[in-house]
Symmetry: C2
Subunit: 209 residues, 2 copies
DNA sequence: GATGGGCGTTGACCTTGATCAACGCCCGAT
DNA sequence: ATCGGGCGTTGATCAAGGTCAACGCCCATC
């Protein structure tokens, strides 16, 4: 069924844009490999990171209405994307309840995801939630959930979590000192996942499966 | 069409619960009159406000998946609700593209709404955005956009905006001192809407009509 | 009328994370 | 090999808003 709907498989080099704010929305994009970052630029041209998308995840769902991408998406490393025509997809959804229900589900999950940062959480909690979320998403796709490479810069993590980069460094150092994780630049190893999950639970309570 | 789908019109007194966390999801609830607050309770039983729903707005969309309400909804004053069976609605959506498209739109708008608080915004910006958002939503339904009664307590506003109640009082006092608005307990009058909108624009950029 | 509870406001003090100002490391270009 | 730029880390200081501790107002109940 999925092969039936794939319009396009495309490759992007690190730093290439997949879509830009204002582009017309016509397809749902699923990441097959690599990592995608979405961001907006504010009035002064400063970047605000909205999210990171790992293999198996769908980018740009919030463009369904009003059919225009409200943000930019850029490849953080080499990315492979599968595109599904939304027009064709929603027509088929009319006759295939399973597909319609799948779309409702994806959209409903995105509501949950957007709430990740809307709480009043400490820097520790945010950082823990970010790491646990990555861990779970990598594990869900068959990758290691305790040892992974961070494809995004500290400044991007900080921006996404609405923290200063200095604070990200400090929290990571504290977590390393406490024996919760080990980190060397972008190589991360989780040493005490239950501890991290405990720190993250207030944030991730809606996403425990 | 809408009359065709209405299962139920019900009334709630102030303080009555409309649904509770864990209740099975079976219908979409549209507010016809009054105001609804949604909240969750954390592990220690503390309340976290998730949103306020005005007349014409739909409560509980994020329950579509996984068919269980993830939060509580309570009437802040006398509330009239219309319920639409989601089962029937989604079957009909399969054959009526207009309805399906309307559902996608409602869900997509909810993603946008959840992002309201996910940024790194000052107390002033949050308060301004809250007031402008209320103003626009009241105006959209034909009520006055510059003079309205706040149906929720300061503690609820503070909780929703992730601020302390003292801070809400202080910001409102500052805005009154600056001549931006006048407020006496729950009666609010906006005196300088452009100024408020300017303060709110970083937050509301995604929600401009 | 008196009392109690809920709500909102106010001032003083405290805490968390941001800002500012460096420094070190790594990698690519020359 | 050297240099420059980007990235990450570290320490000192500052600021926004939270916490704590009141007080005043309003309304319902007795």
């Amino acid at each position: 069924m999925q092969a039936m709907l794939v319009d396009d498989v495309s490759h992007y080099e690190e730093g290439q844009h997949i879509f830009r704010e204002g582009d017309p929305f016509d397809a749902i994009a699923a990441v097959r490999a690599g990592t995608v970052k979405t961001y907006i630029l504010d009035r002064e041209g400063r970047e605000q990171v909205l999210g990171f998308f790992l293999p198996g995840e769908v980018v740009g769902l919030n463009a369904i209405h009003p059919q225009i991408y409200p943000c930019n998406a850029v490849a953080l490393d080499t990315v492979v994307l599968c595109r599904f025509s939304f027009q064709r997809m929603s027509s088929l959804a009319s006759t295939m309840p399973g597909l319609q229900s799948r779309l409702f589900r994806l959209l409903s999950e995105d509501i949950g995801k957007a709430a990740l940062l809307s709480g009043d959480f400490s820097a520790d909690e945010r950082m823990a939630a970010f790491i646990v979320s990555l861990s779970r998403r990598y594990a869900r796709r068959g990758f290691s959930g305790t040892r992974f490479h961070l494809p995004m810069a500290r400044t991007d993590i900080a921006n996404y979590l609405r923290l200063a980069p200095e604070t990200v460094s400090r929290v990571l150092r504290r977590l390393r000192t406490d024996g919760v994780l080990d980190i060397d630049r972008r190589e991360l190893r989780i040493l005490d996942l239950p501890r991290l999950e405990q720190m993250a639970e207030a944030i991730l309570r809606d996403h425990a499966h």
